[in-house]
């Protein structure tokens, strides 16, 4: 019992203690890392448990961020109200936009989902709404850095353990069934489109929350909420952390984002070094950190028993 509970307790305690050990600058970085962690988690869930490779992370962030920011700027609602509304509203919008794409399979779904954030940018600039290219500044922020950190850490813990539980419930088994063999799911009387919509909604809830949080973290919203980084970086985090482990991508994001910050001193070389780390993982540990650690940990258990 303790053997299985240990890693979980370690992870939760680690996340809770982490802010205390950091200075102001790195505490800020941790908040950004948390956003990527949530995106990586939602990407991993869709890709490994539903079979949808969704590169629309930037859209989740953008829809969530704009909803929350606009409500705050135009109506003066407090972030405590706008973040929950934006989480739900952003998720509903993202899902509605993705529904027509659900008929597409594999790479085609990935490509279209990647294009959606770009379209959103064009629409906002063309129509000139929501501050157009300049964005909207002076949004309300959360009270202080401690609240900011613990809100995102709390969200990570809730989302992580929530999804872990979900994938073993009946609905989660149906999602995994769709990934393994969608024809058999249809032959079993289950509409795969209906369940894919549910899965996309769950994933976009997580992403939209991250977006809403981000706009109040910066106190600003603009077109960079639709930046490609939000679609691409989570994949890197998944590769590093271990696809399909759920916790791996979270840890991957918490390692990669600060690493990218630490390399800032190298200027343009930063991206090269960043890529080298990734290529190293793909070449030498393609299973990712978590899969590797998990295996080692279970070997340790057997060794202990014998």
């Amino acid at each position: 019992m303790g053997f299985l509970a240990m890693p979980r307790i370690l992870l939760i305690l680690g996340l809770l203690i982490l802010p205390i050990t950091l200075d102001m600058y790195w505490q800020r970085v941790l908040c950004i890392a948390g956003i990527y962690a949530l995106l990586a988690l939602s990407f991993d869930f869709l890709a490994e448990y539903v079979g949808l490779v969704c590169l629309g992370g930037a859209m989740f962030i953008g829809f969530g961020g704009y909803t929350s920011g606009v409500l705050n700027a135009y109506f003066g609602w407090s972030p405590i109200v706008t973040i929950p509304i934006a989480t739900l509203g952003g998720a509903v919008m993202s899902t509605l936009v993705l529904i027509p794409c659900l008929r597409l399979r594999g790479i085609y779904f990935a490509i279209v989902s990647f294009m959606l954030p770009l379209f959103s940018v064009y629409i906002i600039t063309a129509v000139g709404i929501f501050g157009s290219t300049e964005g909207i500044s002076a949004l309300d922020t959360l009270p202080n850095i401690w609240v900011e950190q613990y809100v995102i850490i709390g969200a990570i813990i809730v989302a992580l353990f929530g999804i872990r539980r979900l994938v073993n419930e009946d609905i989660g088994l149906i999602f995994r069934g769709i990934k393994d063999n969608d024809q058999a799911v249809r032959a079993s009387g289950i509409s795969i489109t209906a369940y894919r919509i549910k899965a996309v909604f769950i994933a976009s809830l997580i992403g939209s929350f991250a977006g809403a949080y981000l706009s109040h973290l910066y106190g600003w919203l603009g077109l960079s909420l639709f930046a490609m980084d939000f679609s691409i970086l989570p994949i890197a985090a998944c590769v590093m952390g271990g696809m399909g482990t759920l916790v791996g991508p979270v840890i991957g994001a918490i390692i990669l984002t600060p690493m990218s910050e630490a390399l800032r001193g190298f200027g343009q070389l930063r991206v090269v070094l960043y890529c080298l780390v990734l290529i190293g993982f793909i070449l030498y540990k393609p299973e990712g950190l978590m899969n590797y650690l998990e295996r080692k940990y279970h070997q340790f258990e057997r060794w202990e028993v014998v």
């Binding site: 009946d170 995994r176 069934g177 024809q183 058999a184 032959a187 009387g189 509409s191």
Partner: protein
């Protein structure tokens, strides 16, 4: 026996590009019977199942299930009506335990409706179904990961997936293929039991001897067309059927 048709297929046709896979096929499935569909390789038997269950859209013709036209309906809607199929090439949800494979059909609208929301723990229901179909609970077979099961169990798992849906009609696409004689021998009573329970079965099969032990009637298909229909023994005596299976013997 009162003959009540459950599935009526009329003039069903489908072409893939220039290949006429199924052409103008009619047959009727009566309640409670076992109908065999036989024919040489590539005759269009599996396409016929795909057409009837909505996985492939027919070019022409009609499919009536209990008097209702189901042509053009989506596969999951047809399955929810009680017309279910097995797949020739089984791809179970390989990362899941065998009994977890049945969680999917047990969550279908049909099962929810027929059980009136009183299904209870789906895991237990799934294990019960597997036990009935020969997954020895004492040997913990239902708990094994699906990808580790031998072919015989996979074929049964495929059948169990259908049974979990509480079907009225099962279309079996080569459930015997690839099985040993003893595995087939243990499978036959299962199908007989299903028939006793009032389930109508249509079987596509290459193992004629075993099929003829079960089937009340057979339909022979060749090059997408129905060439014969009737009682197994009589059908196999016909010259055109022999020719379809064995060739005409004429040489240039």
């Amino acid at each position: 026996m009162e003959k009540e048709p459950v599935l009526q297929v009329n003039g069903l046709s489908k072409a893939f590009g220039g290949v006429q896979a199924v052409l103008d096929v009619d047959f009727t499935l009566f309640k409670g019977e076992i109908l065999g569909i036989i024919g040489p390789n590539g005759a269009g038997k599996t396409t016929l199942v795909n057409l009837v269950t909505g996985f492939v859209k027919p070019d022409a013709g009609s499919v009536l299930f209990k008097g209702k036209n189901i042509k053009g309906l989506q596969p999951h809607k047809i399955a929810n009506l009680g017309l279910v199929r097995t797949f020739q090439v089984m791809r179970p949800y390989h990362s899941l335990a065998a009994f977890k494979n049945l969680i999917v059909p047990l969550n279908s609208p049909r099962v929810r409706r027929t059980s009136g929301g009183k299904l209870g723990d789906t895991d237990l229901v799934a294990i019960d179904i597997l036990e009935q179909i020969g997954f020895e609970r004492d040997a913990r077979v239902p708990y094994k990961i699906a990808s580790s099961l031998p072919l015989g169990y996979l074929k049964r798992l495929e059948l169990a997936r259908c049974i979990a849906l509480r079907p009225e009609v099962i279309l079996c696409d080569e459930v015997f293929s690839g099985l040993s004689m003893s595995e087939i021998a243990s499978m036959i009573p299962l199908l007989e039991k299903l028939q006793m329970e009032g389930i109508t079965i249509m079987m596509i099969e290459h193992r004629l001897r075993e099929l003829f032990r079960l089937a009340d009637r057979v339909v022979v298909i060749n090059f997408g067309k129905k060439i014969a229909e009737g009682i197994p023994k009589e059908v196999m005596e016909r010259e055109d059927v022999k020719a379809a299976y064995l060739g005409t013997g004429k040489r240039k």
